[in-house]
């Protein structure tokens, strides 16, 4: 038997409105928990993209002054080869260094615009035997002639990863607890809707409405609550993402941590799907448990 879409829309809308406080509580809980899920996912992607941009084996970067004479560069190369803590070094000249910069900052054309091969410092990218020696080795090179700056990106990335792993676990745990309470809230909201409409349901059974005809508006109500919660979460995650981008512009060191737009979209789609699942699960349990058809 065809179930008219108009009927389901009308019933769902009037149910949601009649039960609006409960629906609001459910929607906001879904929204908050899903924005935590979204944030945790973006955090994971952001750290991954940092690793991907630099390569996780670059423990030490020795930037030469752009104007450093070739002799200084050769001297550094020799020292690096003679230092036992260094496993190997990869030298990027002006042009290669410029190309890597362009690759790293492809999401920020304003930065690339001011760079030229001539002003980009040549760099030694070194892998250490023991990454924890990075700062000691860095001190060795800091004082050498022609050296502009020594950084140890892998170490800071590792710190960042450790930090972000802890943060992800915390966020996911809170999110899971909140998602469970969101399911329960939707369940209770649907239960109340079923109770409010018990007379209609009794009449529907009596005159021979099919089981799915009776159930569907309640299921759709749960789905809509989950979906609206997901919309709230998508908004929060988007705003958060924009906020982080703006913030990160100030600390150019982390610019590669900015998640490309594409991944944000994938995250948002995931958030919407989880929201729908939460809504359907909550209402399905309520319908099974509290609706006799």
């Amino acid at each position: 038997m065809p179930i008219s879409a108009g009927y389901v829309v009308r019933e769902t809308a009037s149910n949601l409105w009649r039960n609006r406080l409960m629906a609001l509580a459910a929607i906001l809980t879904v929204g908050v928990s899903l924005s935590l899920v979204g944030t945790a996912l973006l955090l994971r992607q952001s750290v991954n993209s940092q690793l991907a941009a630099l390569g996780d084996n670059v423990d030490l970067q020795i930037f030469m002054k752009p104007t450093a004479p070739l002799g200084d560069t050769n001297a550094i190369q020799t020292t690096a080869r003679e230092t036992s803590q260094i496993k190997r070094c990869n030298y990027l000249n002006h042009q290669q260094s410029y190309e890597q910069m362009v690759a790293l900052f492809k999401s920020q054309p304003s930065i690339i615009k001011v760079l030229t091969p001539a002003t980009t410092p040549p760099v030694f990218q070194c892998t250490l035997v023991h990454p924890k020696d990075a700062s000691a080795v860095a001190n060795l090179f800091n004082t050498q002639a022609g050296v502009y700056e020594v950084t140890f990106p892998a170490q800071s990335i590792r710190t960042l990863i450790a930090l972000s792993n802890v943060l992800q676990v915390v966020l996911f745990t809170i999110a899971v607890v909140l998602l469970m309470s969101a399911v329960v809230l939707i369940l209770m909201a649907i239960r109340m809707a079923i109770f409010a409409r018990r007379r209609e349901v009794a009449v529907m059974r009596l005159v021979g409405a099919t089981a799915w005809f009776i159930r569907l508006p309640f299921m759709v109500e749960g789905l809509v609550q989950g979906l609206l919660g997901a919309v709230v979460a998508v908004g929060i995650v988007l705003l958060g993402d924009i906020g982080i981008r703006t913030l990160l512009h100030r600390f150019s060191e982390f610019q590669s941590a900015v998640v490309p737009g594409h991944d944000v979209i994938v995250t948002e789609i995931l958030v919407v799907i989880v929201g729908m699942v939460v809504g359907v699960v909550g209402s399905a349990v309520a319908v099974r448990r509290f609706l006799t058809v």
Partner: protein
Amino acid sequence: MIRFDNVTKTYKGSVTALSNISIDISKGEFVFVVGASGSGKTTLLKLLLREERIDSGQIWVAGREIDALSNWRVPYLRRNLGCVFQDFRLLPNKTVFENVAFALEVIGRPRQVISAQVPQVLDLVGLGQKSKRLPDELSGGEQQRVAIARAFVNRPLILLADEPTGNLDPTTSQGIMGLLDRINRTGTTVLMATHDASIVDMMRRRVIEIERGHVIRDQVRGIYGLDSSSSTTRGIPAVSAISAAADRLSTGTDALGPRHRKRAH
């Protein structure tokens, strides 16, 4: 149209509501089911709707054995059975028209059918002028007419009525019976459970009496009670014109219980 073959129904807690009952009702019959409270009348109606399942035996409705129906077919069974209750069960926030239309709407009837059939059935029950009223604004008798309109709007083969006059005064009850009679004349089988002796006696239709889950009487053109224990006019406080008239009608039968006769005088 309806057949019970050796039907037994026991509720949890081993209360036997019906034991080994066999009844055969043909198309177009008007049947009263009488008996004291708890005798199994309502169970009988619930079994027909498959609100309850039987323990043994078979029930046939419109050529189908209903206990063998799969669950998803039960709604389609119920579309053939109109239902009226003592407490009307109207939706208080819907108008008379909407209450009746609801019954068609939720079984997926198209809007043209609804707007054609609802006024027709409201005219039949005499409420054509009150289709925009809310149930609260109607008298009990009018509310029951709406309930009957809702039960009949889909033209069911069978109309089940569980004490439809239980909340109504005798005059109003008479009107409701007139309406059920009209519906019966359209070929609809009517099965009515009742306590209302005066109405049963007035109508002189087939009477099936149930006592403690057994059919103790099945009488064509019967009256309410053959013995004093079951002849009460429960729910009707005063002796009114209609019950007096009903009693006059049945004065010829010596079968009237003594208590009943006392009431008439």
